[in-house]
């Protein structure tokens, strides 16, 4: 039986800005009720209070942030601000530390790049700057956005604000923890097999993997070239749509960038779900030995909420998760080893134990094995395409378990149990995790919604409708819980 998060239902924000949303902030700015400088200072105060226990940041950028906040303040004070202010003027955010930032340390959370200061911003950061948003710092990840927490790196892994001693998921982990704790309203993460969606799931926030090619990866440290995506993390679906509007678009410096105009991600938000066809993949988690018992009932209740609102929900079957996982991991470790081959040959001991254990075997994958995995990938992507011909979205669990307990002395498994987010990386279309309940011991649970290629508007429409009908996204850890 899932339960209310202890304390969260009766946890009004100590300060009006503590858990403010992106949309809420923009409304406050428009009404000139708060200044971006005040907002940035407030969030840095929260960061100073909670960072010693949460470890969300590799680098904080207070000077640059205040400078950008002052610029945004000047814009919002102009009489023509509504016409001129960029999309996200004055909104604080963080970047996962695999995203290059000109003049700011970009480590990939690795000794290999411990002192790396890029000359140029990644394309996604350039777009956030253009949108007027305020970079607060670089966020903790797992080494080169892969594997599990490694305790032998120069920076400690982030921790989950919902429960001391628990992890915030992989690998956009600092982003998930920082948003859940109210240190930031938004962040940009990366998702190769679920690295935006998993931390969103176990931290009780929204995480979006956009369609492959919709957001440029130019300047993002590679994990797996053919799967890597950048996407928004925030408290609400509306906030995620606002952020995607700022970062989506063609970039001829990214060879995988899709040369098509981005759609209006906000236009369909309020259309509701009446008549929307939802294919519900229950067999991936229900009855699976690796799935926590509180997950299936929470997802079933979420499906009922959507069905009661007029959606047509039908159970469907796709290939087993292990089939998707074998295909994806074979491709991933081969490409990842290729990306870091020089360093593996010259200074392998400088990678963390976790990364070595999960990637070094990529050196032994034969070319024919890699190509058989690529051939199977198209096969599986076609299976998903068949399903999207019949259904507007596919829904399933966001993750198989609530947050994991941190075990600094225990090595993560070489291969984890099959991952419920991976199929949509194989397919390439958009997928999003949103909060849908809590486990009996008060940890967030999540619903995953996926749509056909470039149909983010439909995915946001369903997710936003769910958030209008529930209040899971309005719960956050109390100050006492964040230790």
């Amino acid at each position: 039986m899932t339960a209310e998060a202890p304390g969260s239902a009766a946890a009004p924000a100590a300060h009006a800005l503590d858990h403010v949303t992106v949309a809420g902030l923009l409304a406050l700015y428009r009404r000139r009720e708060v200044s971006p400088v005040e907002v940035v200072r407030h969030h840095f105060e929260r960061i100073a209070r909670h960072e010693p226990s949460l470890h969300c940041f590799v680098t904080q950028t207070p000077e640059g942030a205040l400078e950008r906040a002052r610029e945004a303040e000047r814009l919002w004070m102009r009489s023509d601000a509504l016409a001129l202010a960029p999309l996200l003027a004055g909104v604080p955010y963080g970047l996962k530390d695999v995203i290059s930032t000109a003049g700011i340390l970009t480590t990939g959370q690795s000794k290999i790049l411990q002192h790396n200061v890029p000359m140029k911003d990644a394309a996604v950061e350039a777009r956030m700057k253009l949108g007027g948003a305020v970079l607060m710092g670089k966020l903790t990840t797992y080494e080169f956005a892969h594997g599990g927490p490694s305790w032998d790196l120069p920076w400690p892994p982030a921790m989950n604000p919902w429960k001391p001693g628990y992890l915030p998921g992989s690998t956009s982990s600092g982003a998930g923890a920082a948003i859940a704790a109210g240190l930031l309203p938004a962040a940009i993460g990366t998702d190769t097999g679920g690295s935006i969606r998993m931390p969103a799931a176990v931290c009780g926030i929204v995480g979006v993997k956009p369609t492959y090619g919709l957001v440029s990866r130019q300047g993002v440290l590679p994990n797996t070239f053919t799967f890597d995506t950048c996407g928004p993390m925030a408290r609400t679906v509306e906030d995620a749509a606002l952020m995607l509007r700022a970062i989506a678009g063609y970039d001829d410096e990214d060879v995988a960038s899709a040369d098509r105009a981005p759609r209006d991600y906000l236009a369909d938000l309020s259309l509701g779900v009446r008549g929307v066809r939802i294919g519900w993949v229950r067999h991936w988690y229900d009855g699976d030995a690796n799935c926590h018992p509180d997950v299936a009932p929470a997802v079933e209740r979420a499906m009922k909420v959507l069905a009661d609102a007029g959606a047509i929900v039908e159970e469907i079957r796709l290939s087993d998760l292990l089939v998707y996982q074998d295909c994806k991991t074979t491709i991933s470790i081969t490409e990842m080893f290729s990306a870091w081959e020089h360093e593996f040959r010259t200074r392998p001991q400088d990678f963390g134990l976790m990364f070595r254990n999960k990637v070094l075997s990529g050196s032994l994958i034969r070319a024919e094995d890699y190509f058989q995995a690529l051939r199977q990938r198209l096969w599986l992507a076609r299976e998903l395409a068949r399903a999207f011909r019949e259904y507007d979205v596919i829904a399933t669990a966001g993750w198989m378990t609530p947050a994991d307990k941190a075990h600094p002395d225990k090595l993560d498994k070489f291969l984890r149990p099959p991952n419920i987010t991976t199929p949509f990386n194989i397919g390439g279309g958009p997928a999003m995790n949103i909060p849908c309940g809590f486990s009996a011991d008060g940890l967030p649970l999540s619903l995953q919604i996926a749509a056909d290629h470039f149909d983010e508007p439909m995915m946001f429409r369903v997710g936003h409708a769910f958030q209008q009908l529930t209040d899971w996204h309005q719960k956050y850890p109390t100050e006492g819980m964040i230790q």
Binding site: H283, L318, S319, T330, P348, L364, I365, L378, E383
Partner: protein, 83 residues
């Protein structure tokens, strides 16, 4: 009634029947791959590789000859000259 969208694999044959590589095999493969690992890291590889080998051997083989791989670069006009 649950609708299935699973496409039947045309060639479900796998390499699972092969015997697992021995420690000596793994060391030899690493040498052939040009890896010069310190002993402790070679030991790590010998411990971790069997899980990945089993994974790769579960992949279906024997596909139809025209069954192409998923292409990363599908539009050749996207290839630009570098400065």
């Amino acid at each position: 009634m649950t609708r299935s969208f699973v496409l039947p694999e045309p060639g479900a044959k796998t390499l699972e029947p092969l015997p697992p590589s021995s420690r000596e095999d793994i060391v030899q493969m690493a040498k052939q791959a040009g890896l010069d690992l310190p002993p402790a890291l070679m030991e790590e590889l010998c411990v971790s590789y069997p899980a990945f080998e089993a994974m790769v051997r579960r992949l279906p083989r024997m596909r139809a000859r025209f069954d192409e791989p998923a292409h990363h670069l599908v539009d050749v006009s996207r290839v630009k000259a570098l400065d």
